[in-house]
């Protein structure tokens, strides 16, 4: 048997490395991400009336299941920030930006996101920001960034 015929007879099958599962995020988080696709920001109301953003399925203090989604934002206030002068390739913006804790109007807790301020000098704790949506949204946390309002 020659080398060539051995090669012709070898069994082959295509293989694509991929994650072939579809994961459901559950009732609360599916509602949260579907709303992002529709350019709406939904927090979740706790029993004590306080609103958490992003939505969560459980109250972090009492562990109670919570599911009442309420609209918040799109304006918010920067509670803390860190300036990224040299963004990495994977990060959301190619130009310098800030990671920030932003408290959306109507929410009682700040959350981690991105502020596209252009320059560090424009950043300040307490500044007002507004969500700016991507041209095409996909139902993900990076469907928007904040910009100074």
């Amino acid at each position: 048997m020659t080398k060539q015929s051995a090669a012709t007879e070898a069994l082959t099958a295509p293989h694509t490395l991929s994650y072939t599962y579809k994961r459901s995020l559950g009732a609360v988080m599916s509602g949260f991400f579907t709303a992002l696709r529709d350019r709406r920001l939904l927090g979740v109301k706790r029993r004590d009336g306080k609103v958490l953003f992003p939505a969560r399925e459980y109250d972090p203090d009492t562990s109670e299941a919570i599911d009442e989604l309420v609209e918040v934002g799109p304006m918010g206030v920067v509670r803390s920030w860190a300036w990224v002068a040299k963004p990495r390739r994977q990060q959301p913006l190619a130009r310098p930006f800030a990671y920030a804790l932003v408290q959306l109007d109507g929410a009682d807790t700040p959350f981690l996101h991105v502020v596209d301020a252009g320059s560090e000098a424009k950043m300040a704790t307490g500044m007002c920001v507004r969500a700016r949506w991507a041209d095409e949204t996909k139902g993900a946390i990076d469907d928007f960034v904040f910009e100074p309002a």
Binding site: A82, A85, R88, Q91, Y99, A100, L101, F111, L112, T125
Partner: protein, 351 residues
Amino acid sequence: MREVAVVGFTQSPSVRREPDRNEIEILIPVIQALREQTGLSSKDFDFICSGSSDYLAGQSFAFVSGLDAVGAWPPVCESHVEMDGAWALYEAWVKIQMGYADTALVYGFGKPSMGDLPLTMALQLDPYTMMPLWPDAISIAGLQARHCLDAGLLRAEDMAAAAVRDRANAKNNPNAQVKGDFSVQQILAEPFLVNPLRKSDCAPISDGASAIVLAAGDRAKQLSDRPAWIRGIEHICEPMDLGIRDLGRSRSSEIAARKAGVSNDKIDVAELSAPFTHQEILVERALGLSQKTKVNPSGGALAGNPLMAVGLSRIGECATRIWSGEADRAVAHATSGPCLQQNLVCVLEGN
């Protein structure tokens, strides 16, 4: 409760990059030195537990190969945590408490220099609401630091002073990576790495490994003239979301310290594993240490930060000072997660 003590401790030097050795090759001499120090061989360990991260190695089940450094024949009883070795020590301590073992070997190892560590750390965050934004570990810590600065909980000078203290202490530690005489002014003159953090506010990136032997009761007394008895050990976790935690204090460290009995008596030595200067201050406050406590005589995590081993090494650094008689009572701290999310506190005593 069974009396359990640290009776052996070895570590590799912390270095920015191990160019030639893989994790196992870093670990082998550490384990070998521990065998020589304690006179024990693999068959003498009833239980073996390790701490490491597949995310640093970049391959699944990478920790299994760590056993090559120990030897898996004859068959051993072992376990692993995807956490710092301090949590592997906690598991081993529980195993001994339950009567399943009288001796245990615990080790931690990591080679973060193979990747972009601050970015790799983003993979520990919530996969849907945080990780897609790729917030690097320095930026995440920076949010906490600015919160503390804005709230007047600490000043940039205090943060720089923590680095100055640790680097000066580390001059006596041959395994430390960042050491020497620095001044607060010198550090404050540095440009920001990620405003409000300067490079000197951040622990170095270190490759390294460390290992500990635990033994119970009479076995510990056979193995050591002055065992470092674990008189309190506790770990507490806070929620991951940064917005629902009080970033100006370390609540989980406070609770762990209380449950471990830190304030029951004087503390001679404290070894802290906080990877940023502001976090070191927050942990120091949470433990309620007095002026009489010598903090980070080894230099702590800010002087050498072998990820997955750095917390375990803090317990070892405390134990060596108990063995030598330099300290009668010491407290070690380890941390995990963003902004001091989870903290372990271990109280060691010589008597």
